[in-house]
């Protein structure tokens, strides 16, 4: 629409040491430094995070939801990938 809109950034926050960064939302910022500062003010006003990642939204590539069925289907019939597929004799411990 016009060139003055700041780029959109996706924001990921690590809520505490030892946990993954998790997507929390997005915001507009002129550059990465500003995106991190804005993310602090918008998404961590109550100590929700100890670390912030920002990624310009245009850099995110995603799977296509319309093809989700076919795309994820190969995993559906491989129950042998789960430990519960196997029977362990009662007398066997620690397995």
């Amino acid at each position: 629409m016009n060139q003055s809109e700041w780029p959109l950034w996706e924001v990921f926050i690590r809520s505490k040491q030892g946990l993954d960064h998790k997507h929390v939302g997005s915001l507009h910022a002129a550059d990465a430094t500003m995106a991190v500062q804005n993310a602090r003010d918008v998404y961590t006003r109550r100590l929700e995070g100890v670390s912030i990642w920002v990624v310009e939204s245009t850099h995110i590539h995603a799977s296509n939801p319309d093809e989700a069925a076919e795309f994820f289907d190969p995993a559906a019939d491989k129950v042998y990938r789960h430990p519960t597929f196997y029977t362990v004799p009662d007398s066997i411990k620690h397995m």
Binding site: M1, S4, G25, S26, L27, D31, M34
Partner: protein, 320 residues
């Protein structure tokens, strides 16, 4: 299940997912009308948060103590944050931030009419928190389970923060109601002004709300306007009594048979008049937003120019 889905039209498949309480995510197929309804609702909601900063901003410099001032500042900052969560949810549907702001500034997009009422005394800060945010919470809690994922997630965040807003408002009312006669009077006078406009926040009567049925079917809304209004009255009349204040409605009486409070009819002429732009502050609110946007334009442009210059300099350094 698969063969069944193939037999259904895309609209029916969509409705089947909604009925199964599957959340809809940004890139999923959705009917155009669902997308449009959400963009309208989420952007209006965002605009309400942003415009909602103005009536309280009015009192930041005149808060009666440093504690109250710090609290009010934090609350207004939260509202800016809530507006940003919501704009970002609307953008996942393909709406552009600039377009949403342009629609607000041109008057094409609406925001909650409650913010077109003036905040005349400090007790109004109490009423805005206690009543207005109380009504907002009733609206927003069911939206945490709304069918569109990004909207629902934004609302979870908003609701977590909103309950402090209501409690600080109630505390202001409690302090005034337990204070000197002049303070008690101030509290009652504010309640008298805010009660009816707050009841209007839930929107027109169900019989005059043509969008409700479709929104309920899509599980965007989970309760009707009248259901929420009744819940609000049932919650608030006893709270007012606790404060030693009286809601300005003679018909607000407990109905044993219904196990709910009866209450009088909202002045719908006033409601529609404010929606149409004739409230006491419609003009000021919009003007304040437009002015802030226009006067901030050079900052937004300069930040972009600075970012471009720095990126070019870094690229040149890498090239060497």
């Amino acid at each position: 299940m698969e063969t069944l889905e193939k037999d259904l039209s895309r609209d029916d498949q969509f409705q089947a997912r909604i009925d199964a309480d599957v959340r809809i995510e940004p890139k999923d197929w959705m009917p155009d009308a669902y997308r449009k309804t959400l963009i309208r609702q989420i952007s209006q909601h965002a605009h309400s948060e942003i415009v909602g900063m103005l009536p309280e901003g009015n009192w930041i410099t005149r808060a009666p103590s440093l504690k109250r001032k710090a609290i009010l500042l934090a609350k207004v900052q939260d509202e800016a944050g809530h507006g940003l969560y919501l704009y970002s949810a609307a953008e996942t549907l393909g709406a552009s931030r600039d377009q949403m702001l342009a629609d607000l500034h041109s008057g094409k997009a609406k925001y909650s009419s409650i913010f077109n009422y003036p905040t005349l005394s400090w007790a109004d800060m109490g009423c805005v928190g206690w009543l207005v945010d109380g009504a907002a919470i009733l609206n927003q809690v069911p939206l945490c389970r709304t069918s569109y994922g990004p909207y629902a997630r934004a609302m979870v965040r908003v609701c977590k923060e909103e309950s402090f807003h209501q409690r600080q408002g109630f505390e202001i009312m409690q302090t005034l109601a337990a204070g000197a006669p002049a303070q008690r009077e101030m509290a009652q006078e504010a309640l008298n002004r805010w009660w009816w406009p707050t009841l209007m926040m839930f929107g027109p009567k169900d019989s005059e709300s043509p969008n409700t049925e479709q929104s309920m079917k899509w599980r965007i809304k989970r309760f009707t306007n009248d259901e929420l209004r009744q819940k609000f009255v049932d919650m608030m009349v006893p709270q007012a009594e606790f404060l030693g204040l009286t809601v300005p409605d003679e018909k607000a009486q407990w109905n044993e048979a219904r196990q709910a409070y009866d209450f009088g009819e909202v002045d719908w002429d006033e409601f529609w008049s404010v929606v149409k732009g004739n409230g006491l502050c419609n003009h000021d609110r919009l003007q304040a937003r437009v002015q802030a946007h226009e006067e901030g334009a050079w900052v937004r442009e300069a930040a972009l120019a600075h970012a471009a210059k720095r990126a070019a300099r870094e690229a040149a350094a890498v090239a060497v």
